[in-house]
């Protein structure tokens, strides 16, 4: 008479009672519309596991990944951050985690008001007028930015400045194909023309260099194109807000401030723009309003709702600004809390600490006899390292010493990247890992 599974409460007796009330003999009768010829096919799935078995299996699996304690100097789009401890505590509250899109504002003020906080934080960081509550990730947000630029300028090409993350460029290409947009990768803004809806530039760029956005914004505006800045929100703790440098749309990746990299996702696409583009923004937007009627004990109170929904798929359907529905709300909540916990001083100090530690590590590596750290200009947290052997060989030599070195970028076109690995050191890279790296590099250098 038991229920079939801990997740399903109805017992055999419950089911019998319900079937009787419905007036059918058995469950099969309710599935009578399904075509008999295709019913109940053979499906090969492993047997069910109880909770202790599941924990044991997946603990073993997790242990098949590189140990979390292993020194790791990968960045290139995902960065280890010092996330304030309150973040995981608060985002785990199930009132947040197990709710859905706030269609009923009266019982969703938690999600809505934190969405408003998120939009505010994103606007402050990026220097833009308006933000949505987040898209899937930085790459799809950037693709949406290109589509939005195309809609507003009525132009059918997007220009990407070289040194954008290859993953971001890849997603822009995927989305552009559907929209019939041409994507040009340009080496300099001189290649822009009046066919371009936008110029997309990454800050800091893929090799870690800090970009002066202002001349790029001017060049884009000169041909009537928008500037889309793909900015690291953490670096914006010290870097000039792209909006203040003339950007029209700013996108970014918010995952790392909200928690662990999780093999890249759940991620969080930031999307902010200037006011003229408000009605073209993709995704959900929260607005502030008041109660329609005053409660007995006073004035109408302040509340938050999803607003400007005439842009969205569930109303506009094929004329919507985007098809996005479910996005990354819980990660946006974590991002908001992290930024607010750090506060104005903390975010700056943390970004500065990241900058100092990365530069210190780079200096120590370049001081080793067989190593070179080619610089391409001011940089934030990522730097190129050339060693006494080819990049893949250096990577393998580090791996043998249980260290994950930087990303192999040796097949890129930039001369500085030739034979180089792209290392990343942040405020959260443990000192002991840096010591281990220096020691290993020195040893490898000695052996050659």
């Amino acid at each position: 008479m038991a229920s079939p599974h801990p997740y399903i409460p109805a017992t055999e007796a419950d089911r019998a009672r319900m079937l009787e009330r419905i007036g059918v003999d058995d469950l099969d009768a309710l599935f009578a519309d399904l075509p008999a010829a295709f019913r109940d096919p053979a499906i090969d799935l492993p047997p069910a596991l109880t909770e202790p078995e599941l924990i044991a299996l997946l603990a073993d699996r997790a242990a098949e990944n590189a140990a979390p304690s292993r020194p790791n100097f990968l960045g290139a789009g995902a960065y280890r951050r010092s996330v304030p401890s309150i973040v995981s505590h608060l985002v785990s509250r199930s009132e947040f985690a197990t709710a859905y899109t706030p269609y009923q504002p009266e019982i969703s003020q938690g999600t809505l008001q934190s969405g408003f906080e998120f939009q505010s934080v994103v606007c402050e960081l990026t220097g833009m007028d308006v933000a949505n509550v987040g898209l899937y990730d930085v790459a799809s947000a950037t693709a949406e930015a290109c589509l939005m630029a195309s809609r507003t300028t009525k132009r059918q090409a997007a220009a990407l400045l070289e040194l954008i993350h290859p993953g971001t460029a890849g997603v822009v290409n995927t989305y552009a194909r559907g929209a019939g947009l041409r994507v040009d990768v340009v080496a300099s803004p001189d290649e822009l023309s009046d066919e371009h809806a936008c110029l997309v530039v990454q800050q800091p760029d893929f090799l870690g260099t800090i970009v002066d956005l202002e001349p790029l914004a001017n060049a884009a505006h000169d041909v009537g194109a928008l500037l889309v800045a793909v900015a690291d929100p953490f670096a914006l703790g010290i870097l000039k807000a792209p909006g203040d440098a003339g950007a029209d749309i700013v996108t970014g990746e918010g995952r790392d401030l909200a928690g662990a990299p999780a093999f890249g996702g759940p991620s969080l696409g930031l999307f902010a723009a200037g006011l003229p583009y408000l009605r073209q923004i993709p995704g959900r937007i929260v607005g502030r309003t008041k109660e329609l009627h005053a409660p007995d004990d006073g004035e109408p109170r302040t509340g938050y709702v999803l607003t400007l929904q005439a842009r969205e798929q569930f109303i506009r359907r094929e004329r919507a600004t985007s098809n996005v529905s479910t996005a990354q709300a819980l990660i946006a909540l974590g991002f908001t809390i992290a930024v607010q916990a750090l506060g104005p001083q903390g975010l700056r100090q943390s970004a500065e600490l990241c900058y100092q530690r990365a530069h210190d590590a780079a200096r120590r590596i370049s001081a080793l006899p067989a190593y070179d750290v080619p610089e391409r200009g001011p940089w934030f947290q990522e730097f190129l390292v050339r060693g006494p052997m080819s990049a893949p060989e250096l990577s393998a030599a580090l791996s043998e010493r249980e260290i994950t070195g930087g990303l192999d970028v040796s097949n890129r076109l930039e001369p500085e990247a030739r034979d180089a690995l792209l290392f990343c050191v942040t405020e959260a890279t443990p000192d002991a890992h840096i010591e281990a790296l220096i020691e290993a590099l020195a040893e490898i250098g000695d052996e050659v």
Partner: protein, 502 residues
């Protein structure tokens, strides 16, 4: 008479920035004692940043108070139709947050991420079994992105056949979710709407009439958004293929048929699933989700990058299919969500999945029976996972709208159902109890809805003003849209916006 209490705080009026006190902070950043590098030129730096300054305890209280102004599945029954708000097993969160999984770097070598990759491989295989579509990419971040992937795959296949220039239309039923037409448009197609027949299925005659050499695909939701089986879909599949078009399954409602019938067997070419629905991962207040796309042998070369494959050397890797439509994410998708879905699949097994679909359907029909006669039921027949009632009678007889009924349900302690969707049902109340609600909860929900139907007749004003017990009353959505205030700083948005609006 109750004694007047202290005046309630206007909680929403005080945001973090209003609670800020200069000099407070929630965390300290370690000092740097090493040698200092000078910062880049000041023209590249910001000179100010406005963020709240709050102590750790204040910040925790603020967000705890916010969470208390929310309603989740753990708070109570959440019968939001089409969204499958089932209980989210806590063990799934525990598993995804293990440091071995959580700290894995997306750029790690495959050899260093075998635990994650092997788990994804097994999820991929499991989803292929459940859908009967042998090839899967786990990359899409949500249902809508899975749809985009599927439609772009069809584009790529048509291009290869040299028919892309002529096949410019996608047929979408009028009962479809808004993401379907929006996706088709985003992929560059024109949308033709298909009417629903009286029995709640697609109208066969219209399909036959519309199918020609200009049609690229037909997007069908199975079971459909009325909670009904799409009658004769396996024959329609044949017609569509004969016309040279592809059949797309919006698999958001897979929950109703898991383990019982498969998209691949019925003749679908490509489908997306919503793991945040059928596979119990938390909805997060609007994501993250995951929307894997599954397809036939024919479409497999076009799947989005990456796909998870076991290579000859026994290592599981992320690969790009030969003629892939490309990437959808900077990295590999919402992996944390995929791990949770895998845990769910393993906790259930085939018998468990069948028990899920069986109970989901039984619960929806139980609710249908309990409410029968109290509300209009435009498609009056046994349903699958959800049932769509109409508040038309209440509207006509008592000037009570579905909107009012939904708001009143909040006073009874329930999250309201989906309302005004699907668009083909006037005053729609789309109710999906899911299998994780016990019969007592379904009875209580039915009792509440019946009481509200009675109240509509006797005391409509109580409904018009509802909810009365929520943290806040009905909000002025019109003013919110007309004079948008979208961030702390009260940017002078409203005037500019009215100037710019079309």
């Amino acid at each position: 008479m109750t004694a007047p209490g202290p005046r309630r705080e206007d909680f929403g009026a005080r945001l973090s920035i209003d609670r800020s006190v200069p000099g407070r902070r929630a965390v300290d950043v370690p000092a740097w004692h090493g040698s200092k590098t000078s910062l880049p030129d000041s023209s590249l730096l910001r000179d100010s940043l406005r963020l709240p300054e709050m102590s750790q305890g204040e910040l925790v209280r603020y967000y705890t108070a916010l969470s208390e102004r929310n309603y989740g599945i753990d708070s109570g029954t959440y019968p939001l139709g089409s969204c499958t708000m089932k209980y989210n097993p806590k063990i799934n969160d525990l598993i995804a947050s293990q440091p071995g999984f959580a700290d894995a770097h997306p750029q790690a070598r495959a050899e260093d991420a075998q635990g994650t990759l092997r788990t994804l491989l097994e999820l991929r295989r499991g989803l292929a079994e459940v859908t009967g579509l042998p090839h899967v990419s786990l990359a899409p971040a949500a249902g809508a992105q899975g749809e985009l992937a599927g439609v772009l795959m069809i584009t790529a296949a048509l291009e290869e056949r040299g028919e892309l220039a002529t096949r410019r239309r996608i047929l979408v039923p009028d009962s479809a979710h808004g993401t379907n037409p929006a996706t088709a448009a985003m992929a560059g197609y024109t949308v033709t709407h298909l009417p629903t027949a009286e029995n709640g299925s697609l109208d066969r005659a219209t399909i036959e009439q519309e199918l020609d050499e200009t049609v690229a695909a037909v997007m069908v939701t199975v079971p459909n958004t009325l909670g009904l089986w799409e009658q004769g879909i396996e024959e329609v599949a044949g017609l569509i293929h004969d016309a040279g078009a592809y059949l797309y399954a919006d698999g958001a409602n897979l929950n109703a048929i898991m383990g019982r019938v498969r998209y691949g067997d019925l003749g679908f070419d490509v489908a997306h699933l919503n793991l945040h629905k059928s596979f119990s991962t938390p909805h997060g207040g609007g994501g993250p989700g995951a929307g894997p796309v599954c397809c036939t042998e024919e479409l497999a070369p076009y799947l989005p990058t990456p796909v998870v494959e076991e290579c000859a050397d026994g290592i599981v890797r992320l690969l790009a299919p030969e003629r892939s439509i490309g990437q959808l994410q900077q990295f590999h998708g919402n992996v944390g969500v995929l791990l949770r879905a895998y845990a769910y699949l393993r906790a259930l097994g085939l018998d468990g999945l069948r028990a899920v679909s069986g109970q989901a359907v039984l619960n929806a029909n139980y609710l249908r029976t309990l409410l029968h006669g109290h509300y209009d039921l435009p498609y009056d027949r046994p349903v699958l996972h959800e049932v769509v009632f109409s508040g038309s009678r209440q509207r006509r007889q008592h000037d009570v709208r579905t909107y009012d009924i939904a708001k009143r349900l909040i006073d009874h302690g329930f999250h309201p159902p989906t309302v005004y969707f699907p668009l083909i049902v006037p005053e729609a109340l789309m109710i999906e109890p899911t299998e994780t609600e016990p019969p007592e909860a379904i009875e209580a929900l039915a009792d509440a809805l019946i009481a509200i139907a009675d109240e509509a007749a006797e005391d409509p004003d109580t409904l018009h003003g509802a909810p009365w017990s929520a943290p806040i009353g009905r909000l002025d959505e019109t003013t919110a849209a007309r004079r948008p205030v979208l961030r702390w700083q009260d940017v002078k948005v409203s005037e500019t916006v009215s100037r710019l609006s079309r």
